[in-house]
């Protein structure tokens, strides 16, 4: 018995040693002929695979275009892509692999809050800058000064939603339907705060689980008892589409206001005609005159046969930011970080990036789009810095 | 104080079904009591009630003068009531030896503390081997119980009951489904137990066996005792013959 225990101990010690030996391989010296390696991870399999596809397409498109133009300062860009399956355990493995094995100079997250949140501290510790495309968890950028977010914080977008509801649409009685994850929580909280401070009333709040798809009971209740004049949907395209379908099915005459969560061609596909007239806050203006926006929309549609959406555009922008700063300061991670901090008034496909807030979240105008004839169109835009600057918590 | 087991006014109802309906039985030290009766007479139910598997609807059970009805099965086992099952229930995926060792542990299953006490001590294994030798299972000790034939499983049932070193052994049709040869072996084993002075209750459908083995026989029908006496008396009891007529060819 004793002997067996001893051998077990020895074996495990040997294993640990072996692991640390492999782990300690030193970084090869970088030369100018090597491509610039940028890490990327997204949920390519699993329940968020559609968003994974959209972001991974956009990431590849961004790299393809920059390489087509001769790369950055003559060096090609190479993308190191991983699938996290929307699983935090895999995200930790990936982050560790990217920081120690893959020699990437920077990373873009094309994933949701969970995986991005667990990966962020690892990149922070390794001193490799990460830009998160669209993760909304407030703690992502709090991991440290190497972590940036390309999307609005939940607080900004919720407040912008409030502006649309109260100031533009003059709603008085508002019902909220929110998905019960960080996205829905952050948005509905700051939305409620703005709405109630500006003379309107939130008359009901219904939370539901990510996996939920049946909204008949809630819409029935809203129609027959609550009778709001506006429904604010802090949720994703699947839920959103079902809500607008139910509303139309029940002949319920109410304005619907959505968020970037429904900014997807899949929303249009599922909801069809029922989506007409839905207004949403998002980051990409489809009617923008900006050349880069139109180029992105056009090349993406041609290449993949799909209509680009908010998550893809955000990831595409994150790559544009990286290309820009690497072109200016080279590939040292600290320099990249400093340059991102200093970046001002940079034109991206989602409008002009004014700068990164001290909380390292992008400050950019909130686009208000309306669905007309089965497409997203310009409705309005919020550029008021008081609204679009994130307030540190 | 020779009375090991006394049953008073025992009733066991399943909804409307009266499986046992007012039964009084006494059992004395070193006696072998046979319980016979047609199918559905309530024999196995009686066993299950005595062993604590079922809680009686009414009535009392005394074991060595102590009231025990309604106690759970493991408590009855610890009080010295060992049983075999009509359909052999070996612990299939462990060895024959372990099956017997498990039975030897009757006083060792103390809960969490039993984690720190080794089961296969030399003393225990020796004891188990002795029982295996007695029941003729020695050669199969390392075989899994699920892999041996029915005849050996019956012996295993008895070996397990023996290992408990019981006050009272209850055998539920130990010969059912066996060949004549195997039946004789089992009978031999029971006779040995008798000689050692064990107190035994035997359910046996095969009447000649009961007649041969038992000191006293109780006949059940529809949950009631219709006769009681020595094998000789039972053999000539008109009521018993009627209850069995056409029921069982073995009765002759």
């Amino acid at each position: 018995m004793k002997r067996k225990l001893k051998s077990l101990l020895l074996v495990s010690l040997a294993l640990m040693m072996a692991f640390s030996m492999v782990a300690c391989n030193s970084k090869p010296v970088e030369t100018n002929d090597d491509p610039i390696r940028i890490g990327f991870f997204a949920p390519i399999t699993g329940p968020a695979a559609a968003d994974g596809l959209s972001t991974s397409n956009s990431a590849e498109l961004a790299v393809e275009i920059v390489n087509g133009n001769g790369g950055i300062n003559g060096r090609k860009v190479e993308i190191v892509k991983y699938d996290d399956g929307l699983d935090t355990k895999q995200a930790v493995n990936i982050a560790q692999k990217l920081t120690t094995n893959d020699n990437v100079v920077a990373v873009v997250s094309g994933s949701y809050s969970g995986p991005t949140r667990v990966a962020a501290p690892i990149f922070q510790e390794a001193g490799i800058p990460m830009i998160s495309g669209y993760a909304i968890h407030p703690e992502v950028t709090q991991s440290g000064d190497f972590i940036f977010s390309q999307s609005f914080s939940g607080a900004v977008q919720g407040k912008a939603g409030g502006v649309v509801a109260v100031d533009m649409l003059k709603a008085k009685r508002i019902s909220i339907i929110a998905v019960d994850i960080d996205f829905g929580k952050e948005l509905s909280e700051s939305f409620t705060q703005y709405v109630e401070a500006n003379g309107a009333e939130v008359v009901s709040l219904d939370k539901f689980a990510m996996s939920d798809s049946e909204f008949g009971p809630v819409i029935t209740k809203l129609k027959e008892e609550v009778k709001p004049d506006l429904i604010y949907m802090a949720n994703y395209y699947g839920h959103g589409a079902e809500i607008v379908r139910q509303v139309k099915n029940m002949d319920f005459d109410v304005q619907i206001l959505g968020t970037e969560g429904i900014d997807s061609y899949q929303f249009l596909e599922i909801a069809g005609e029922d989506a007409e007239g839905v207004i949403l806050t998002t980051n990409m203006d489809r009617d923008s005159e900006d050349e880069s926006t139109q180029t992105y929309i056009k090349t993406y549609t041609e290449k993949y046969g799909l209509i680009p959406d908010m998550v893809g555009a955000s990831v595409y922008d994150a790559f544009q930011v990286l290309f820009k700063v690497i072109e200016e300061v080279g590939t040292e991670p600290e320099d990249i970080r400093d340059a991102i901090k200093e970046l001002k008034n940079f034109r991206t496909v989602t409008g002009v990036l004014i700068e990164y807030a001290p909380s390292r979240e992008a400050i950019k105008p909130v686009q208000i789009q309306i669905i007309e004839n089965g497409e997203f169109h310009y409705f309005d835009r919020i550029e008021d810095l008081d609204i679009i600057t994130p307030v540190p918590k | 104080m020779n009375e090991v087991l006394r049953i008073e006014g025992l009733k066991m109802y399943f909804g409307g079904l009266k499986a046992i309906d007012g039964l009084d039985i006494s059992l004395y030290r070193e006696e072998t009591l046979g319980v016979i009766g047609p199918n559905g007479a309530g024999k196995t139910t009686l066993f299950n009630v005595i062993c604590g598997v079922l809680k009686p609807t009414e009535g009392k059970i005394f074991l060595n003068g102590e009231e025990v009805q309604g106690k759970s099965s493991f408590e009855m086992a610890r009080k010295g009531v060992a049983r075999t099952f009509q359909i052999s229930k070996p612990l299939r995926d462990i060895s024959i030896l372990d099956n017997v060792v498990a039975s030897l542990g009757i006083n060792e299953y103390t809960g969490f503390k039993s984690l720190f006490k080794k089961s296969h001590s030399k003393e225990t294994v020796d004891k188990a081997m002795m029982i295996l030798r007695r029941t003729g299972l020695e050669d199969f000790k390392d075989k899994k119980a699920g892999e041996v034939s029915l005849g050996y499983l019956r012996r295993l049932e008895i070996a397990r009951a023996l290992a408990i070193n019981p006050l009272l052994i209850m055998l539920d049709e130990p010969c059912a489904g066996l060949s004549n040869f195997a039946i004789n072996e089992v009978i031999e084993l029971i006779m040995q137990l008798k000689e050692e002075g064990k107190t035994i209750v035997l359910i046996e459908h095969n009447l000649p066996i009961s007649m041969k083995v038992c000191d006293r026989i109780v006949v059940l029908n529809y949950g009631q005792k219709i006769a009681e006496g020595t094998p000789k008396e039972i053999q000539s009891n008109q009521e018993v013959i009627e209850a069995y007529l056409g029921e069982d060819d073995d009765f002759a």
């Binding site: 077990l8 495990s12 294993l15 692991f19 782990a23 399999t45 991983y82 699938d83 399956g85 935090t88 355990k89 895999q90 930790v92 493995n93 560790q96 120690t100 094995n101 969970g114 949140r117 667990v118 501290p121 407030p138 703690e139 019960d180 960080d182 829905g184 929580k185 689980a209 | 062993c51 759970s72 099965s73 493991f74 086992a77 610890r78 060992a82 099952f85 229930k89 070996p90 612990l91 995926d93 462990i94 372990d98 060792v101 498990a102 039975s103 542990g105 009757i106 006083n107 060792e108 103390t110 809960g111 969490f112 039993s114 984690l115 720190f116 006490k117 080794k118 089961s119 296969h120 397990r160």
Partner: protein
């Protein structure tokens, strides 16, 4: 570093598989909600260290206790329900507990919980630290299970697994032992949870969902149920699979699913189970070379 991180994750799963094996492998009770107890341990220790400032080292035994105590509840349920009914009820328990994490603000609700990395003699625990810690816990657990197998406790569980009626006829208090088995298994899962929470530094309700329970169970069964080596090797195999199959890229989940089906189709006793192809041949080879008694090497 990457390998160490992967190893820590695998180590956590080894511990989970070993602990589930006490309930399912040794006591023979269906348990499809093991991840819930993993979660209870994780949240218990996370709340203790992050909200109340306790040391990680104190939170470990507390996580063990709390999970074990909740596990008693599951044991009580197992007295009332059997087999497939019990199996599905444990799934239900998994869902209810995850919902509690998801909906109660005490557990961080929909924002999850951020966990501070623990200190060890004034140094921040790094990944290698976790690897050493989890290895030590695994060794202790293995030793403990080995001890259990040789004790009356183990024999009682074997009896219950085979036939509860027989077990009680041998004087075994079946209910008590079932509760003990559930509570021990879930308590060890609680420790795994505590290490996990501090290793990941962020936990969220869905980390402990039903699919995780199924994953743990698959490890036990694929490896070989009712043995010590089975769950360990099963956890290594399935835990490393998502990483090993990375170069299949798009096909890796198909490979993973296909592997589960094929293994169950052709080796239902698990790859390293008592009756499996590998074990039989290994024993044969070992016997041929060393002419030793089989019992000495394979317990």
């Amino acid at each position: 570093m990457y390998l160490i991180v992967v190893s820590v994750n695998i180590g956590i799963f080894i511990l989970l598989a070993l602990s589930l094996n006490i309930i399912t492998g040794y006591a023979g009770q269906a348990a499809l909600g093991h991840a819930a107890f993993f979660g209870i341990g994780a949240y218990t220790s996370a709340i203790m260290t992050s909200n109340y400032g306790f040391s990680f080292w104190i939170s470990l035994p507390v996580a063990f206790m709390v999970s074990g105590i909740v596990g008693i509840g599951l044991g009580l349920i197992s007295i009332r329900m059997k087999d497939d009914f019990l199996a599905i009820t444990t799934i239900g328990v998994n869902f209810v507990i995850v919902a509690l994490f998801q909906y109660s603000s005490f557990f961080g609700a929909s924002l999850g919980m951020t966990v501070k990395k623990p200190m060890f003699f004034g140094m921040r625990m790094n990944t290698s630290g976790y690897l050493i810690l989890i290895t030590i816990i695994i060794i202790i657990t293995c030793y403990f299970i080995h001890k259990m197998n040789k004790s009356w406790f183990g024999l009682a569980l074997s009896s219950i697994r085979n036939d509860e009626m027989v077990a009680s006829s041998l004087g075994i208090d079946v209910n008590k032992y079932k509760i003990l088995a559930f509570s021990l298994g879930t308590a060890i899962a609680g420790i795994a949870g505590a290490v996990y929470a501090h290793h990941m530094t962020f936990i969220y309700s869905s980390d402990f969902a039903f699919t995780v329970s199924i994953g743990i169970l698959s490890m036990v069964v694929i490896g070989g149920i009712g043995t010590i080596r089975g769950p360990i090797l099963g956890a290594i195999l399935l835990g490393a699979a998502p990483e090993l199959f990375r170069f299949f890229a798009d096909y890796r989940m198909i490979v993973y699913g296909g592997l589960l089906v094929l293994m169950m189709r052709f080796q239902p006793q698990g790859i390293f189970g008592n009756d499996s192809f590998i074990t039989r041949n290994f024993i044969q080879a070992y016997k041929n070379i060393f002419k030793k008694k089989v019992g000495d090497i394979i317990e």
